[in-house]
């Protein structure tokens, strides 16, 4: 396989990690997060500073990036998770901007707006793919557990969830932390794939790109998250020959999907053996009915 396609696959896995966290947080728990790039930045800079300045082994640095990112989510979440819907979303937006500005101004540590060059490019396809598959497995387990159901209950009706004994604040903290850890991992892998990081890589544009992936694929579907991470990461690359028009096509596709299917491509459909069988039976009876 050519290096070019390997690169696209790695980028798909890196985006998928960040999207899985967002899917759990925004799709399943109903907490809109417009600042995911902030957690990518925390993970990327933590891991990179550790590998480049302290010669910490790569995997350990990645883990540290996840931990620092998750801890950050606790600090941010404690005062903001009690805010109602829209206000929380705005707080996440502000958080990502604060991280970006901090990184820009802590020049000694982060290289400021010039960024950090010559990062060892340790992110390999097996590593990125393995991390994505494990993360998908863990998140799918979580969604189907009693804790996952409690999260969906909080999304559906927070007051009713509290009334049946669900500690909504705690569940919000948990999914925010899982989301932050996955975002941090995504950032760490990204830095060690590209070999160079600078604050502008973690702007609101990146956050928007990630949340669009969650909405595009289907808010209540992990299958949708995987599908849209694959399509929306590779699409701009596949359309590269069309040059300037490729981002227009990307935007048009997203608008089209949102108009035709506001619940996202997959809605709440999941790729499970039982669902595939049901779909197959429906197709067969539809064809047989002719």
């Amino acid at each position: 396989m050519s290096q070019y396609y390997v690169g696209i696959l790695i980028l798909i896995c890196i985006n998928l990690l960040a999207v899985l966290g967002l899917s759990l947080m925004t799709g399943f728990t109903g907490l809109f997060n417009f600042g995911q790039a902030g957690f990518l930045a925390v993970g990327a800079y933590t891991a990179t500073i550790l590998t480049t300045q302290y010669s910490v082994p790569f995997l350990l640095a990645l883990a540290a990036g996840m931990v620092v990112s998750a801890l950050t989510s606790f600090v941010i979440g404690y005062p903001t998770l009690r805010l109602k819907g829209d206000y929380f979303a705005i707080a996440t937006l502000g958080f990502a901007e604060v991280v970006r500005l901090l990184v820009e101004n802590l020049e000694k540590l982060t290289g400021g707006s010039r960024g950090i060059p010559r990062i060892p490019t340790n992110t390999s396809l097996p590593l990125a793919l393995g991390a994505s598959i494990i993360a998908l497995w863990l998140v799918a387990n979580y969604v189907n557990s009693r804790h996952g159901r409690s999260c969906v209950a909080v999304r559906e009706d927070e007051l009713a969830a509290e009334s049946i004994g669900v500690d909504s604040f705690r569940y919000k903290q948990i999914v925010f932390a899982i989301n932050a850890a996955l975002g941090g991992l995504s950032g760490g892998l990204l830095a060690h794939y590209v070999g160079f990081i600078q604050p502008s890589m973690f702007s609101t544009i990146k956050s928007t790109e990630l949340i669009v992936m969650v909405i595009f694929g289907g808010m209540h579907s992990l299958t949708g998250a995987v599908f849209s991470a694959i399509v929306l990461t590779s699409l701009p690359e596949l359309l590269r020959t069309a040059q300037a028009w490729r981002l227009v096509a990307y935007g048009a596709l997203v608008v089209l999907i949102m108009v035709a299917r506001p619940e996202g491509l997959m809605g709440s459909w999941e790729l499970t053996p039982a669902n595939v069988k049901a779909l197959f039976n429906r197709l067969r009876s539809a064809l047989g009915g002719e």
Binding site: R146, R149, S163, I164
Partner: protein, 255 residues
């Protein structure tokens, strides 16, 4: 010791006193009702007992422990379950999941076990599935278990909400106008159903109604409130013939 004791409970919203020094005692196993005209403060009392509102004044004791102003989820975990006047189901959940989410007494596996398929988790999930099936059987919704709850007809949604409350295995069940929006036949069915669960689950029930006739055949003890204040209390017969109650409901006779 009373199961629930409410002492001089008061709640102000700005300048409006919604509940005014309300006191009440529920003994274990009883079936109680609070009635009153619309806007009398009935739902506010439920919201105070379940911690949704913090009282301006007064205290609430459950099983002898003070629960005044505690978080809603903690009060729920202690054994007070409720339904809502304007049905609050998890509408994008299946009928089964609505009940299963509330069966928290039967699953204690941790968040970490939520990430991995451990044997304990599998065992507890099986128990949850069985319990929710049994409850759905009881409310005649078993054959609709996989449907989304928002697609159920209104009367079924009411029953599902009660099933969800029962799934918590509460000691005290608060029903907020369970017959609201029902026709007389459905109301009679519902009252039979409430009597049935009262016996089979060994429950203490407190229900709110503004139609007096609904609770007459059902409750042992009725409190009538108006403008947040108790205006009468007693057996259905006593309350029904009380002139103060008649006045509150029908207004005073014009000269």
């Amino acid at each position: 010791m009373s199961l629930l004791e409410i002492r001089t409970l008061t709640k102000d919203f700005g300048g409006v006193r919604a509940v005014d020094h309300f006191s009440h005692q529920l003994e274990k196993g009883g079936l109680y009702a609070i009635i009153g005209p619309n806007g009398a403060g009935k739902t506010t009392i439920f919201n105070l007992v379940t911690g949704i509102y913090k009282p301006t004044e007064g205290q609430i004791f459950f099983n002898g422990d003070e629960i005044t102003g505690q978080d809603t989820y903690k009060i729920a975990q202690k054994g007070i379950a409720r339904t809502f006047q304007n049905i609050r189901l998890f509408s994008d959940f299946s009928v089964r999941d609505n009940v299963r989410t509330a069966c928290h007494r039967y699953a204690t596996y941790s968040v970490w076990e939520g990430l991995f398929p451990t044997p304990r988790r599998a065992r507890e999930e099986k128990e949850l599935a069985e319990r929710s099936s049994r409850l759905l059987d009881l409310v005649d919704l078993k054959d609709r278990a996989e449907e989304l709850s928002k697609n159920l007809p209104y009367g079924h949604q009411r029953r599902l909400e009660i099933a969800r409350a029962l799934a918590q295995e509460p000691a005290l069940l608060l029903l907020d106008e369970p017959a609201a929006g029902m026709n007389p036949d459905e109301t009679v069915d519902l009252m039979d159903f409430i009597e049935e669960i009262h016996e089979t689950f060994d429950l203490t029930i407190l229900l709110i109604e503004h139609h007096m006739e609904v609770v007459m055949g059902l409750a042992d003890d009725i409190v009538v409130i108006d403008f947040g204040r108790t205006i009468a209390q007693g057996t259905p017969e006593e309350v029904q013939s009380n002139p103060v109650v008649i006045e509150a409901y029908l207004g005073t006779e014009e000269g």
